[in-house]
Amino acid sequence: MSRKMYINGMASIAAQTEEDLFAENLQSFSENIFPATSVNYKEYIKPMMLRRMSKTIKMGLVTAKRALNEAGVDVPDSIIVGTGEGCKQDTEKFLENILDENESFLTPTAFIQSTHNTVGGQIALDLKCTGYNMTYTQNSASFESALIDAKLQFTEEMGTRCVLVGGVDEIARISTPFYNLDGQLKAGEINTAKILQSSSEGTITSEGAAFFLLSEIRTQDSFAEISDCMIYRNISEEKLQEEISWFLKKNDLKIDELDVVILGNNGDTRYDHYYQQLQEDLFKNTLQLGYKNWVGDYNTVTAYACWLGAEILKRKEIPQQLKLNNLPLKQPTSILVYNQYLGKNHSLTLLRSL
């Protein structure tokens, strides 16, 4: 019997601030790679620890601490992280060192930091948390893999009360621009705000982190509930529609009872058809929101999408600039997040209000 997963604390860092999001003041960029907003990391992390940390670790650790703080939890029972590319900058640094110095005079710090589970490990170290600690790196289903693990924990009898779950990815100086060479990123003049209307291949990318403290204990400050999550490595459009209906039914929802769907359209004409098909058919009477034109597309951007969904459910407010269709909506109670990247690693996550 599955116990419920309440979001009792959460935090995110992305290319847009929370203030700008709900004040209809979202920023547009003219680059196809743009960074997350800056944070004063020194407020949260001691300088001797901070000096070694890549942005991935800094963003991950800060959002994790903020989420825990909000939930009033010192040490969670488990820490589960999704990251598609880990500490990319450190990986680049160590690799360049090897290539430049022909495998001599190599310093270990960048190597140590480059394993994908460094974020999870650093969070555990900072909190002195000896509980279950896992890291998933399944491209654009990394965060959802972490969520599914969290959900499993809530069905098991191991006395789990609360789980810290999050997703984080960073931009790297040389290796992210490589995506201009293999068709992942959009060429030519860029205006990120209008990217979803583009008629060419490729998308835009950024970085960010979003962490959640999920608990089986509901408090008066609980944001929302994460009801369920599914991933599919590869699926046809037809089968996807069937799966979505089945997924909602499994969670006692009919399609016309779903209030909002958050879609991962990213302006890549090769793959946005997965979303467009749903927009024209299954979800034609559902309020549709798009966000990647504001925060870019990266492996764990759906962690941001879940944060967004939970914020909407808590505030009972929809950021107008995210609307993809013009349906009115009074008080959202259920939100489905659907995503895929390059036609693979499709995911469905359902959030509900309390």
Binding site: T115, G120, L125, N133, M134, Y136, Q138, I148, L181
Partner: protein
Amino acid sequence: MSRSVAVTGMGIFSAIGKNLEENHRSLIHGKHGLSYPEILETVHQNLPIGEIKSTNSDLADALNLDKNHAFTRAALLGTIALKEALQNAKIEDFINIGFVNGNSVGGMDMTERFYREYESNPANRRFIQAQHPGFTTEQIAGYFGIDNYVTTISTACSSAANAVMLGARLIQSGRLDQVIVGGTDCLSRFTLNGFNSLMIYSEDFPKPFDSERKGLNLGEAAAYLVLESADFAKNKEVLGYVSGYGNANDAFHQTASSENGEGAYLAMQKALETANLNPHHIDYINAHGTATQNNDLSESRALIRIFKEMPAFSSTKSFTGHTLAAAGAIEAVFSLLAIKHQQIYPNLNFNSAISDTRLRPVTELKSTKIQHVLSNSFGFGGNCTSLIFSKDE
């Protein structure tokens, strides 16, 4: 344990053999796979490694891949090992089978080769995406058409052990009835130089648990288990059960283990709890035993804390080298072979015990009754995992 998790098939490719039979033969004849770099292009010609003496072309040919394939070396090894596991378990239908792959090096073997060429030469740009572990998993899943639940765990040296644990939990929860679990990692300049820069790489062959041990030696390998629920395993040969598992974090240091092996201790304790077993039920421990000063001492202390009477134990890394993310999987296979053949494989290169602990591993092949095996895998970031495999009675 409520729903049992049966192992119905396994496959392996390591420096001591390209399938189960070859690996088993090497284990019983004490024939290790450590040698010097021939395929890996590195300046460190003096560092022993557990290298699989097949080039990527050989491996790609064995799989009948297209010339323009984007398979990383880890994906090539993984696909071959997975083929054996699926044949073994007689799996033909992949509609509802899940796949959990442990991988940490990803496609770094390709990245380090082409990194400086990508800008000027379009020839190998299909490997840009291959850098990260998820891509290797996708290549392997795509080869077999495994389309539904597919994920990658990347927790350094405990990755594949964590994959086994997750697979068992997915079956017990009823979420899936069949899951392929395991891992793959290949040698690369990145990891060879990485461990060397930490000054824990040995210029000699590995001496796990020995007082004169000088460090680890890397290896490469891939191995997978097919796990099935009781219903699905009904008419199949059961090689053993995943009867216990535990994961804990040392929370002590980024790469070194705590002095009293707290993370290891907690992981082993959890594994025994979930298996509903007491320490005296364990007949053999396949230790993590990397032969570093730090791990072997720390692991020994954790073992002493758990086991009043030390069961027989050995580190098979003395045969294969440390295969990073794949370690938990190849050692799961060795644990199940130990159960199948009722034998314990030796800890090679052992002479004298660590003075602090005086623990002596098994040093010769031993035939003995084996019901339960404990297998340890501890990774960077304090990630500690223990698995228990039990005989089908």
